[in-house]
Symmetry: C2
Subunit: 328 residues, 2 copies
């Protein structure tokens, strides 16, 4: 194997989400050597968020008593559409005001070290590949179900992100051509039908129409404060409206998975993100749809499993991406 | 480069379609050295079709005055779902009675030469990559619009066919979750909405409901004999029903393309197959949908173009696949 500059050095990885920022120093064995976390406070706008990222990096370096020249690189996973080549966050539904923000170069210029910027779902896919449910699996799709639905594609053991770095937007695949408009501008996207936002919206809609549910008491009548998490909890307790809402979303999720199975013939579909914490309540009906509707051969070949890494998938994956760059 | 046994020798390639069988001897420069074509007569069943394939191979070898030991390999592209590892045609909507037919081994045992069996749309994708519209393009999707809709995925310059060899079934992606049932068992597949069959069916449906169209005269009142080709011809002549039917199919095609653009961020989408002969009538509205609905960055990056190779895409691609095997 070719000797690569900085190969034995750790990566400083950042996961920039709509809610929180995670920063960690990660060894080339995938060990988290130092970690910190703060709120994104995205509403304060890009400059303020960038300042928090820089401050987290400074703090981690000082905690670990190293300077940036002792890093392999800095690798940032961000919740949004990324222009990989130019190092821009081009837009982000969860980061207000982020349009063509040159996040990579801001960081690179300050720390004078190789810096990468990739999509957070892509990073999580890589994280699961190197250290989680996808270890040893060379062809899989990672789906993250949260406020939105993101995706990452691993083909022949590597992240496939396409020529512009924007591939993997699986949440923005139309499955209902006559469905609701999505925040991305497209129509009937999987995200509008099966995300956490969709689950909460559907429960709110039905309760407002006068249907009875224990959710009304749980939120003390403040219907707007119903979240997917609360719908999940009510369903676990046997609330029939909550169960129906989740079954409906799970069916849509299954339809999306059928598309992925027919198109990719993946060995595995790994499901992560907050909504995936509902577990079998969501995955069992989705698997049933795959068994019933997808082509038989790839349907039998695919395993549909929960993600393993939880909150650290993004930073572990961002680090794995950076380590892999040196080896290509 | 490693020296490979048989590398300079030609490939005998077969394209087994629902209507015709094409057989050709192809040099490693992609030159068609000999070619013949016969009807599939698929209704006579698998054994009869296999006999015609064997007879075409015998005839080509004798025409070319070579025996099978002077071939690099035999490579078969077939219209159906393929189990690549086992060399089976597992099923095929256009080849009645073909369930788990061991076509690869039947040929291999007779001619005692390396034999490959791949899907015909995958082969055509490879053909366009090596010799047609996709030359020099490393990431593209090939779509074939005919009786059905098939697909082939080229990633990093190679055919991506998935662990079971069944990837690329882009026609069997649900885009209308409340749509009609597809022959594959799934619901609202792109194929049920935008294939040649769908175009003809929609024209027939509207005319039966009493709508006026020049198609009624063209088929001399035999409404059932309306084909997509005839709808295309009527549309070219300005028939408004035909134009509307094609616009509707083109819109569905555009929705399918949006999904491909958001998921794959391909450099190119190449559109082949009989229905694609309608040209801009079909492609222009589909491109418009992509511009309006897909993510901006990949939508600007993708070229949507007609295929270049016509009928020989399958045999050229099957040969390219065989030549590439030696080099991996």
């Amino acid at each position: 194997m070719q000797k690569i500059k900085g190969q034995g050095l750790p990566v400083l990885a950042i996961d920039l989400g709509g809610t929180k920022i995670i920063a960690a120093i990660i060894s080339n064995q995938g060990q988290v050597m130092a970690r910190e976390q703060c709120l994104t406070l995205a509403d304060e706008g890009p400059q303020s968020v960038i300042n928090r990222i820089l401050s987290a990096i400074d703090h981690l370096l000082s905690l670990s008593r190293i300077d940036s020249s002792q890093l392999n690189s800095i690798s940032i996973a961000a919740a949004g559409a990324i222009n990989f080549e130019k190092g821009l966050v081009t837009s982000s539904p969860n980061l207000p005001g982020w349009y063509n923000i040159p996040l990579r170069d801001v960081v690179k210029e300050k720390y004078r070290v190789n810096t990468f910027l990739i999509n957070d779902a892509s990073a999580a896919a890589l994280g699961e590949h190197h250290f989680g449910a996808g270890k040893g699996i060379n062809n899989f799709i990672y789906l993250t179900l949260g406020t939105g639905i993101g995706g990452g594609i691993i083909i022949n053991g590597k992240l496939y992100s396409g020529p512009c770095g924007s591939a993997g937007e699986i949440g923005h695949m139309t499955i209902d051509v006559n469905g609701p408009r999505c925040s991305c501008g497209n129509i009937g996207c999987l995200e509008t039908l099966a995300s956490g936002t969709a689950v909460a919206r559907e429960a709110v809609r039905r309760i407002r129409q006068g249907e009875v549910s224990s959710l009304t008491e749980i939120v003390e009548g403040e219907i707007e404060s119903i979240t997917a998490e609360k719908v999940g909890a009510a369903a676990q307790d046997g609330d029939s409206l909550a169960l129906e809402v989740i079954l409906k979303a799970a069916n849509y999720l299954g339809v999306g998975m059928v598309n992925l199975v027919n198109i990719f013939n993946p060995e595995m579909i790994i499901v992560g993100g907050g909504v995936a914490k509902m577990g079998d309540l969501l995955l069992d009906p989705a698997k049933q749809v795959v068994r019933e509707r997808a082509f038989q051969l790839p349907a039998q070949a695919v395993s549909i499993v929960p993600a393993q890494l939880g909150d650290d998938a993004g930073v572990l994956g961002a680090a794995a991406f950076a380590f892999q760059q040196g080896l290509d």
